[in-house]
């Protein structure tokens, strides 16, 4: 083994313009070797661990070894105190079994000594603990229990028909609520501008980054949507999810449901269906537009949007109050492959996506906003609109159309 090189260049301290006030440093000895100070004898043990250190004139300092011991012990304590939350987060990540196994083991020890009690109390108080999440199914059951049953042919009639949304007029706009994950961060405001320019909509946007339907412990969208439906009573609700849903579901044990496996797809379908049912108004006078997730680019780390879109589309087929908006063809080439840039109706090529290949650029948001407007003209009587034609510089070419039928993707659980 070659001898290690010690720094011995005394000139280096003499370079001009350099600040020398960086701490008390012992100069090297006459042979250029670093000087080791004599160490005071130390006794490490329980007594040392429990007694306060003596201040020897170096206020605010600690030996590196003590910092290491304290740091390590504090991290171990943190791991035990935060075990329930760590397990929850770990289960949601597609990180491999060792992470979940470790998190599970720590959580078991933590629970045995009741060290998880403070964290559980905080999480429950904040409503972020899994135990406090009310599922869409439960919400639906509560809603049905609170609503007096309607009997006779009215039910069949209402369910089989499209919702009856009043025709808006200038000065009497429809209340439209648009929300979802961070894709709506750009899409929402652009849609708001487009729709409000028609004079027929009063739009509210609610974009929540990192949210979706797989992690109600992070944000319980079904509950939030129900609150909005009950309090704001919008005539039209436009929702968009999917971009953050490509993750494991932290339920039923440490492994949870792995992304896009059979259980995952079944659970996701159940959540989508319950959420759609929650949004149906008793008088069937509310339209729900469910915007399909966008195709994601190769750099995004997000995959399988065609799988969640198939779930949305197929569930919307049996619910007349839900209009599925097929966004895919407007952001793909003719083979339905992801495209960063595409021509607008005027033929000019536009960059439609942000550099992360996930979010929309301003042009992409404009395009989707006009797709939404076009779709609304098919669902609602917008004859009093101020908009007479789509702007060719913003809208997609008229040759692109939504698909009538979405093909089941491989392993979609459609069979």
């Amino acid at each position: 083994m070659s001898p290690l090189t010690l720094h011995t260049d005394p000139e280096i301290h003499e370079r001009d313009g350099w600040n020398e006030d960086w701490g008390d440093i012992d100069p090297p000895d006459e042979f250029g070797r670093p000087v080791r100070r004599a160490r005071a004898p130390r006794q490490f043990g329980v007594r040392w661990f429990l007694s306060a250190p003596q201040d020897k004139g170096h206020t605010g300092t600690m030996p590196a070894g003590v910092i290491l011991v304290v740091g390590l012990a504090a991290l171990v304590l943190l791991a035990l105190l935060s075990a329930p939350a760590t397990l929850r987060k770990s289960n949601a990540k597609d990180k491999g079994a060792w992470r979940q196994t470790t998190a599970q083991a720590v959580a078991t020890i933590s629970a045995a000594f009741r060290l998880d009690a403070p964290r559980n109390a905080i999480d429950d108080a904040r409503g972020t603990g899994v135990s406090r999440v009310v599922t869409a199914d439960e919400l639906l059951a509560q809603q049905r229990a609170a609503t007096p049953p309607v009997t006779g042919p009215t039910v069949t009639q209402a369910v089989s028909q499209r919702p009856v949304v009043r025709a808006p007029a200038q000065g009497a706009p429809l209340k439209l609520w648009l929300g979802g994950d961070s894709i709506t961060g750009a899409f929402g405001p652009e849609a708001q501008k487009v729709l409000e320019s028609s004079g027929l909509f009063s739009v509210t946007v609610e974009s929540k980054p990192s949210s979706g339907l797989t992690r109600p412990d992070y944000l319980n969208w079904p509950k939030r949507l129900l609150d909005i439906a009950n309090t704001d009573k919008p005539d039209v609700m436009v929702v968009m999810f999917g971009a953050n849903d490509a993750q494991n579901m932290p339920i039923n044990g440490p492994a949870g449901y792995a992304l896009y496996d059979e259980n995952w797809l079944a659970e996701y379908r159940k959540r989508v269906a319950s959420t759609m049912d929650l949004l149906k108004s008793p008088a069937n006078d509310r339209l729900v537009v469910w915007v399909g997730a966008l195709p994601m680019g190769p750099a995004s780390g997000v995959r399988g949007m065609e799988k969640v879109d198939y779930v949305y589309w197929s569930e919307a087929q049996t619910r007349p109050w839900v209009a599925y908006l097929d966004s895919f063809p407007f952001f793909t080439d003719s083979s339905l492959n992801y495209s960063l840039s595409l021509p607008a109706a005027d033929g000019k090529v536009q960059k439609l996506r942000a550099n992360d290949n996930i979010h929309l650029s301003r042009e992409g948001a404009d395009r989707l906003a006009w797709v939404l407007y076009q779709r609304l003209t098919k669902e609602i009587d917008l004859s009093k609109s101020n908009i007479f034609a789509l702007p060719p510089s913003q809208a997609a070419p008229p040759t692109i159309q939504e698909r009538v039928v979405l093909p089941p993707p491989p392993d979609s659980g459609a069979a």
Partner: protein, 548 residues
Amino acid sequence: MLFPTVDFAVFFLVVFVGSWVLRPYHTLWRWFILLASVVFYVDFFDAQHNPGTDAFAPLVAFGAFATIAALAIRSVSTSDEPGGDNRPAAVGVFVAVAVGFVALNALLQQMLPDNNQSFFKFLLLLLSFMFVNQAAARAVYASLGEGRARTNLSRWLVRALVVFDLGVLGVFKYYDFLRESLDKLGALPIWQLALPLAISFFTFQALGYVVDVGRGEIRPVPLLDFAVYLTFFAHVVAGPIVRVREFVPQLDQRPDPRYVEASEAFMLIFRGLFKKVVISSYLATQIVDPVFAAPSAYGRASVLFGIVGYAIQIYADFSGYTDIAIGAALLLGIRFPQNFDAPYRALSFQDFWRRWHMTLSRWLRDYLYIPLGGSRGTVNRTYLNLFLTMLIGGFWHGANWTFVIWGAIWGGAIVVERVVKKNWALTHEPREATVVTKVGQWVLTFAVTCVAWVFFRAPSFGDAVEVLRQVVVGTDDPGVKAVLTPLVVVVVVLAIASQFVPPRVPERVSQIGTRMAPALQVVAFGFGLMFIDALGPEGIAPFIYFQF
């Protein structure tokens, strides 16, 4: 790798041990820190950033470039004094390495398409960029005259390096903006260039180094020292912008491991985590994001608190990051300069910029304002230089007209303030400002700061105007959704009030920690971190300044 994560905690513990064990060994310690910084930058812990087997060819290409560049740089100018026969060789090496950098990175763009390997591509960009700047520093130093006096050649070399570095920054950061701004001409093709992480920060630091060499203020440092300086994990992503003359001498010093400045470091790390994880995230999700997404949906008070909330959010986010960075470096025995000094207690615009992102302000002063002429010319020229400095500083933040407007607001405010103060001094006797005057100055400074932040945050000029319009002509209605909760008001008020707490208070509180028994410290730190984690959101949002 993000600071407030378990991954970083584990990473830092390993680095902490390795650094103190290897610190006496000059070269080995430097290689260790460089390797740690590379792991941090690429986040090799995260499986999706793993380059995989198809990174072999790019690695070979980079390896060949790095070896040839290192040998070429080593072959020139090892003498203590500049000048002499090696000038042509030094200039030749600089040009050759710069050409090699362009060829290598064009090749890497082809070999490594934008996917999960982007970070790996960015790393190779950063390391190859380092070689160009080191070659430039050597060439500039060799071209200096007697007594390190500037020569025409050294000036031209510095200019060439500035154009080169800003060119690299421009291609990645401003190409889309340029293309969209020239849209009507339809001249530029669409390129898909992801913005390399931290490109602005490492460009600024490298530029400052070569300019300092060109001014004869420092000698070129060894290549390994420069590599450690440029990539050092604590500051590589979002600053503070440290100078070579501040950082490299510390590499040669050996701090005493018995006296690590733990109380200050722990205080900074805890404070930073709390600001980032709790305050910044809470305000962002509770009021700032909704208000800026759809201002017309909210009443006047909600929008006003949304704007003030953003002022607090960006301060908590950015100063939180630099607090953690400074604290982490301090635990390794390296001291960074202060980056924030309670900026929202400023009583003037100039005072604000002495307290906000201090290392950037200093960089802009030394490498932009002074080269523009500083205050050496006429009064009007000084005003113009001030305005241009702020305008360019604004544009540095991003390729959007909103940042230009943000810079223009600040440039205009500082110039107007100077004019007013100058005229006031001509007609009034100097005297101590009354409390009422100070309150007025504070309100004015904070108000202009908040208005400027609206342009900084809003995605477009129109959106920013819409937000401001809502404050003036918006309804009194609390809005469709209640975002203005009592807790938001309390957080905003306390955050502003905290700016007026004297610095000695947190200093004394932090010293209590190091006087406690180790067992008590463990309990305090463990519970403290648990509370921060519990009060924060699930998952950590990226730091705002990562995008710059």
